[in-house]
Amino acid sequence: MTHSSPAEKTSAADRADAGAPILEAVGLRKYFSVRGSKLFGPRPVVHAVEDTSFALYPGRALALVGESGSGKTTVARMLARLYQPTAGALLYRGAPATNESRSALLAYRRHVQMIFQDPFSSLNSNHNVRYILGRPLRLHRHARNRRDERERIITLLNTVSLSPAEQFIEKYPHQLSGGQRQRVAIARALATRPEVLLADEPVSMLDVSIRLDVLNLLLDLKERERLAFLFITHDIASARYFAEETLVMYAGQTVEGGPSDEVIQRPKHPYTQLLISAAPDPNRAEAAPFQARGDIPSLITPPSGCRFHPRCPHAMPVCRERFPGRTTFGGGHWAHCFLYGEGGSASDAAATQTTALSPARRQ
């Protein structure tokens, strides 16, 4: 294996792009009903995720970026089949994966595994590493006997750089540091030999000096095992570091997406621009003029149209009326914003005036 940079990998992955996606989300939507304040009133609904579509490819990562409450974890949980989507479809290798038998769900989960944010609560503290890693091996019949199981556990521990592996196999979670725990959690996800890893903020609970180590381990896995990654993060810089493609979510809506470098160097949507101007950047010459107002809205009564409009410095009347269609900028970069016109979607022609108000459209 060569010591290749993420940039080189992008081009390698682009060659693989011709391949079919492993996992596809098509128009995913999730509403949660919550208890209302009125006894006989209608049950209020949290509009957590609206109409989200993307595809995951082998050896590539898609970063889902957004603040807390943007719906990114809900998306991952739908993909892990922990939540049933309210609408939309999941396609695994082109075939719909929806409510089916237990055995079909087990087979799905063999291929799609999740890494959680907090390794302090995602590992059962009553069991040692041997049990934690042995269980998926047994459940998915990857180990023939106890000796086989032990060998596989040792291999897994070596894969995640917990060495000497023999020393870790009998340890309990409380005897491990945060970074070691997260490595065990990664090993557990790898035990079923999955094709897709859903990593929900996999390093944000770890110490700074360990984060990069764990990120690099995941990058190695992406390259070597050709895993497809959904990488959830609030840190736009690590999205750029880890993922070829980035999708920005705001209050349950996907607002912008495309190649990570495009999205982060040339952000189109005002929210993406806000997010980037807020990120710490030691190389920033002077404090950027930073404009933000208001907070993330309630998702029980979300703002109409584009949910960012109450905070958007460029908001127009039309933004309140409906969600903008998708405008493409070439190279796979797109955004949902009326600043760039009506987008490619079929929309009524009444709002042509807004196009005139918008800045010159690029490309």
């Binding site: 993420p6 060495s163 000096s209 840190d235 160097q265 950047d281 190389n283 920033r284």
Partner: protein, 381 residues
Amino acid sequence: MSNGVFTAGARPLLEIKRVSVDYRAESGTVHALTDVSLTLERGQILGLAGESGSGKSTLGYAITRLLKPPAEITGGEALYYPRTSRQGMGTRNGAAPAPAAVDVLKLTPGQLRGLRWKELAIVFQSAMNALNPVIDIAAQITDVLRTHQPGLSGRQQRARAIELLRLVGIAPDRLHSFPHELSGGMRQRAIIAIALALGPELIIMDEPTTALDVVVQREILMQLIGLRNDLGFSVIFITHDLSLLLELADKIAIMYAGRVVELATRDELKRLPRHPYSYGMLNSFPTIHGERRRMVGIPGAPPDLRSVPSGCSFHPRCPLAFAPCDRVVPALRQAAAERSDPAVACHRYDPALSSAPPPTNDEFAARYAAAYQAAREGRRA
């Protein structure tokens, strides 16, 4: 962002001298803080950066005397230099003979009460836990005023509360909100408002924005810098996020396993970190701009404070470690003859121990890359 509100040559605000803190545990004594010395100038923002267990919060709590057993301050002093005339916030031009310094670590509880809030306030990480959930914001602000300024009338207290909320960007109509009615960012603002209530000279902030989203974090930091420029207080800002300090702090102390390993101005640290750990930390953050390349980070993990490595506690992770590092504890000293140079605790800067020239950014990069490569190959073998 920094520009000197403080004047050179003036008395410092706080001088921390060789402070040590131990935690007495059944399994033995943990040295959470060893011989830490720092100086805070007036109006300065001093950043304390380190990972968990580095002692950064312990230091903050030690100088505010908030440590409780089993923690114990085993030595050192924290000299606080009070201002001569206090005419309230905004007007600061004391010229009369300065009162003597007080050692915060030796104050009686009664004397401490006089110091707290009026001179020195603290902002904690968790805004939800720091506010009382069953009392509205107004009452929590006026509570401070009632206790420390009993002369104020109810009307004056209320006026002051509104003024404070306005300072931190909360509309006065939120005065009677309860903590659960405020967003995370607003709660943290309310806490900053309470900290400002008596116009303190020094505010210690322990990870004040860590639990917040980036956009809110940036808003609050901008506000903090603005308030510092207007009111002239000093800040000790404790965080694990070095990239934040590089934008915010005037001076940065890097802590590792209970010691300060480097003390430098923000610009100097950015230009040329002196300690190998500082270099590793600075290069552990992916960046938004610039070339996309594989970064290497620091090998290994921070030590368990119950069994800190001998000599320089960073030596097992250090790609530049050489003979004396596992035997002799390096002292914090000037990296070079210049007085303005950063202080660093590393044997590579000691001519008596190292004949090699002080490391450069290129040497750091090469050594870290080699260590990373070796670890990768070891993994595969």
